[in-house]
Subunit: 263 residues, 2 copies
């Protein structure tokens, strides 16, 4: 039997709320066994860019990571947010160790290629991008990896990479060795049929159901990339994948079913 | 016989010069055997603070690290500078892994206590602050630690800590197990009797000579803390300690004597 590991992704709604983040990190610290935290950014990067007069560049409605923006997100994600989360986890006796993908070449990305748009310093990753052997070795030292959404190309460049994707791809890479449960934590109860009604929770979503919901326009835009990453994990041998409310982590781990299961 | 390790400190003069830094990292990558890099900040933190309108607070001529300044230095040192150095070392096939002291509780500091001045988020460290067992284990994985000058207190706070001191104290802590050579790399040939004359290099400085030079007012202010940290290392069983010019690292390693030896 494979050893169990929890891979947990958190995003801006939690990171921007000091008190809620602290409660979450309490719950995360309490999880027994191996675990990995992946965090996105929050408002801090946008606030900082605004203050410095760095404009968000958009091409055909897509966000571009130019050099100035890369500098901002490297600082904010890998410096400020990552180190503050690690320091708080250490306070809670969780042996956290913070990483960007450049550290120990843990996540090697490729610059995003696109026929029409140059996305700038945006890195795409796949299963083989993950240095799973070293991640395993670090976890054998009882360390708890905390990943920021910064990767590199081993050519000296840092990249901005989607945190939902990083969580999914790490989960896929580790599934050969571990019994992986991937949890996307966010500010909703799970996937909701009516985004304003927590009672409208969809308990399970299969690939077919996802296609139907998508085609019927029943999924709001924000949830789509999360669901696509979740489905990709399921299709690549990740044992369990859930979208749950951030405050429900402890309940979920203890009772094994909160939020929406992707299957 | 103990295994050899090089612990190398670099500062702002190198970090602010992209080309010089790249040449240095080439030389650093070429060092065989175990090695650790410790880096300070550079102008970036000050530039960023200026742009954001965060004033440098001074009390009795001493710099204070308030919360805003801590946020800046955490971002810049542990985020921007650390991750860019790590990415560049990875490009040069050096298995770099970047750290703040919070990561894996590698450096646990105490808030600086002072009868009259509250220095803010400034952390002091001593030999026992260093998680030397874990640093050894990480190096056994063939990883090359790269430390930024950010520490923590295991109570959830990050601290600003002098990078010269971090290099010295890591060297002291690892001396029980390793044959440590500590190298302070900076923009001068070593300690100079006349700061404007590279020919006036002092080849060796003992504790007594240091006191004499200091009392005679022959040491310029900038070099004093570096020399004090270097002497502290020598007194605490660090085998070799040198102050050398940044561009001389390779020569020094190959010929075993550049710059000023502290003995």
């Amino acid at each position: 039997m494979k050893e169990k590991i929890h891979i947990i992704k958190i995003g801006g709604s939690l990171i921007d709320d000091t008190e809620l983040l602290d409660q979450f990190l309490d719950q995360f610290s309490g999880i027994k066994g191996k675990k990995i935290l992946v965090h996105g950014g929050g408002k801090l990067a946008t606030t900082l860019a605004d203050k410095l007069g760095i404009e968000q560049k958009m091409v055909n409605g897509r966000r571009i990571t130019d050099k100035d923006t890369l500098d901002i997100v490297s600082m904010v994600y890998a410096g400020s947010i990552n180190k503050n989360i690690v320091a708080k986890l250490q306070q809670k006796k969780c042996k956290a160790i913070g990483f960007s993908g450049a550290d120990a070449n843990l996540i090697k990305a490729k610059k995003r290629e696109h026929a029409e748009i140059d996305f700038g310093f945006v890195g795409d990753i796949e299963k083989k991008s993950i240095n799973k052997k070293l991640i395993s070795k670090l976890m054998k030292l009882e360390l708890v990896p905390v990943f920021s959404a910064i990767t590199h190309d081993k050519k000296g460049n840092l990249f901005n990479t989607n945190a939902d994707t990083i969580a999914s791809v790490i989960a896929q890479a580790l599934s050969a060795k571990y019994d992986v449960e991937l949890l996307y934590c966010f500010d909703k109860e799970g996937v909701l049929e009516d985004v304003d009604n927590p009672q409208s929770l969809i308990k399970t979503i299969s690939e077919e159901e996802f296609s139907n919901l998508k085609n019927e326009g029943k999924l709001h835009k924000g949830i789509l990339p999360k669901l696509e990453n979740a489905l990709s994990a399921v299709k690549n041998n990740v044992n369990k994948v859930f979208l749950i409310k951030e405050t429900q982590l402890k309940n979920h781990i203890e009772n094994h079913h909160e939020g929406t299961e992707i299957c």
